[in-house]
Symmetry: C2
Subunit: 411 residues, 2 copies
């Protein structure tokens, strides 16, 4: 009798994005002529950079000749890609990260979930609230939580609220936690972390032999030169942190799929006999056994991000989306709506006007302006009363959406 | 204090393929002029079919225009690909499989490992011996086994020997098992399963409410028309089987990465309260949460396998490798060496001559003929005294390797 993993049954049935889809679909069916603009899901809209496309096409041509054909590649990714990442993303910013510490994957979402494979079941886990739902759901699936309560919080997890009240910082917990998910620039709030803030986290982690799972998927959007792009810019982080990065948002790879995870060689965790075990070896074994590397042609596309043309083209993409974010912030502010984020991140975190709940504002916005955003409460209890607007869209759509909102929502 | 998953520490240190690499490297360094031919790892060597390359290039061009750019795709894969698979791989062979039951992934190795996420920890698991090591190692990692014994067997797993003594069939166990891994055409033995044999397994699984994890990665190599390509050709299999397939070996996608897993809608497993839970829903939730779909351009490449040109080109690839296998079988037989497999599979399973152990034959073959194969004992205790030779290579290399072996090993 095949037994299932009962932990899956603890998961909330109504996941955020399917519920949004359901409501938008119902509205569109009832109002077939309404010109809906989606600023909900964080998906890019602009073309894949020319440098990346050229590289993918060249690599595909190589696959047509036996002498340049590529079969299985290294599960960790090709060294030519890992070396460019090590040099340009890390060493150039003073981070002592070697190519051998970089693992190429097909997505940060995958890595954020899969990383739990190598950790034990008795860790105390902290997440921010609001939070990227994947951190929570994968812990539920892995059996690291209890049941969900009426507030939507899972028993056993430590929630660290980030809201206007604490200036959107993830406060160091008073209790001891073993694994900590941090995401800066933050999804969904668009908040950032200063070096001092991350240093406090690193100090905490080192003191408690905890590990920080640092999601830097949005680092490319940092425009303030004082802000760190990587956790490894912080003294001591190599002893206590894993970092996730992605080509999805800087180079428009959401549909092309390439990401990376950094696992420093000197990072250790505890076995149940109290001995120290190298995390790198565990992740390397996990990836070698359960993964077969990213498509060769896609890795060549990612490599092109580091070429002179690629650097310029991805910078232009980032600037484009940041300009969208700026327009969103300005227009909403001019309408009397309070906004956060949006200057070092592609997300604008809106305080819902008229004290509306997140879902009430969602419905009102959809019905009166045909604009779709994401209810903040979908990211956690502390997101109630907030609303996420994504800067990932065409300029025309952003301008039109803001025009409609300012005309309808003078708060 | 971050705790690691102690189960990883149970894994054998010397995994098969790294050990082969180590010995080959040492030999090559000591004999720099030796023209080594590798018939070890099951990696393809022939160019990616032209139809697939053209489709990937066209899709990459689409990514350059905002109106045809693709961001996040469905985590389950694009429907246009899933529908072609359903029609041409399954319905055309009389299997009642719908597109919605097909999940596109980046590799069968990944799916074979990840599938354990959705099953409980108290299942009795059966594998064949010899076996594709990933089935075993992923169960060790997931905590489904005890320690390893001196024979290289993990406590708690049920090993089903397949060897010349039982005509290479996986015999139905006398004890009750809950999950059963079957791979036909078999890696590493090249053995096949008749409809009657699989029917017996399906009957067993239905009687015991077990689930068969059927790996059909090599189905395209079946040339005997009486043999089933899919477990779903067997009456009742939709109630008790998951099937894994891949584009790696039929269309040369080992470096391009695309595969698929079939989870029938009516397949159920037991929750701990005794209720039936749909496996499809669990896998769909797993993939939606921990995976983000396969690269759009790669899915377009896989779709081209089903075009008229793609069908012809993949058939030609298969024929080419099968002809290699035939040459290997004939030459080794003429040298008095006993061979199995190789007619409906790209692997020839060799009985080592002179009663050599698998590793002794490996060393002797390398030293006297510079040919690399895979020691059968690396796939499990019952593989001792056998040796796997892969048909994945150029014709020139296969001919040259066979010439050297027949000249040196008249058994």
């Amino acid at each position: 009798m095949a037994r299932i993993n009962d932990n899956y049954l603890k998961l909330k049935a109504g996941y955020l994005f399917p519920e949004i889809s359901r409501r938008v679909k119902a509205f569109a069916e009832a109002n077939p002529d309404a010109p809906i603009i989606k600023l909900g899901i964080g998906d890019v809209t602009e073309p894949l950079p020319e440098a990346c496309r050229t590289a993918i096409i060249e690599a595909t041509k190589e696959m047509g000749d036996r002498s340049t054909f590529k079969g299985y590649g290294p599960e960790q990714g090709y060294l030519w890609l890992r070396e460019k990442i090590a040099t340009q993303d890390f060493q150039a910013r003073g981070c002592d990260i070697d190519a051998s510490e970089i693992f190429i994957s097909d997505g940060s979402k995958c890595d954020c979930g899969n990383i739990l494979d190598i950790f034990g079941k008795d860790n105390k886990i902290a997440v921010t609230d609001p939070v990227y739902p994947v951190y929570v759901d994968t812990n539920v699936m892995a059996g690291n939580t209890g049941e969900i309560n009426e507030k939507g919080e899972y028993e056993g997890l430590v929630y660290l609220p980030i809201s206007a009240e604490n200036n959107f910082t993830a406060e160091i917990p008073t209790e001891k936690v073993d694994l900590i998910y941090l995401c800066f620039p933050n999804n969904p709030t668009g908040a950032t972390a200063t070096k001092e803030h991350l240093q406090a986290w690193v100090n905490y982690a080192k003191e408690h032999q905890s590990i920080i799972l640092f999601d830097a998927a949005y680092e490319a959007f940092i425009s303030d030169p004082s802000l760190p792009h990587s956790i490894y810019e912080i003294e001591g982080a190599k002893d206590c942190a894993i970092e996730f990065r992605s080509f999805s948002k800087n180079a428009g790879f959401t549909g092309t799929r390439c990401a990376l995870t950094v696992v420093p060689k000197n990072l250790t965790g505890k076995a149940s006999d109290g001995s120290d075990v190298e995390i790198w070896k565990l992740w390397n074994r996990r990836q070698s056994t359960k993964f077969n590397g990213v498509s060769y042609v896609v890795q060549r596309g990612a490599e092109a991000v580091y070429s002179e043309a690629g650097v310029q083209q991805t910078k232009a993409l980032i600037s484009f989306y940041l300009e969208n974010a700026k327009i969103i912030c300005e227009k909403l502010t001019s309408a009397g709506i309070q906004v956060y984020g949006g200057t070092n991140a592609p997300y604008v975190w809106v305080k819902t006007p008229f004290n509306l709940s997140s879902w009430d504002f969602f419905d009102k916005l959809l019905q009166t302006t045909y604009v779709v955003g994401t209810p903040g409460s979908g990211f956690g209890a502390a997101g109630e009363g907030y609303f996420r607007i994504s800067a990932f869209n065409t300029r025309e759509n952003v301008n039109e959406a803001m025009k409609r909102i300012t005309e309808n929502f003078q708060a």
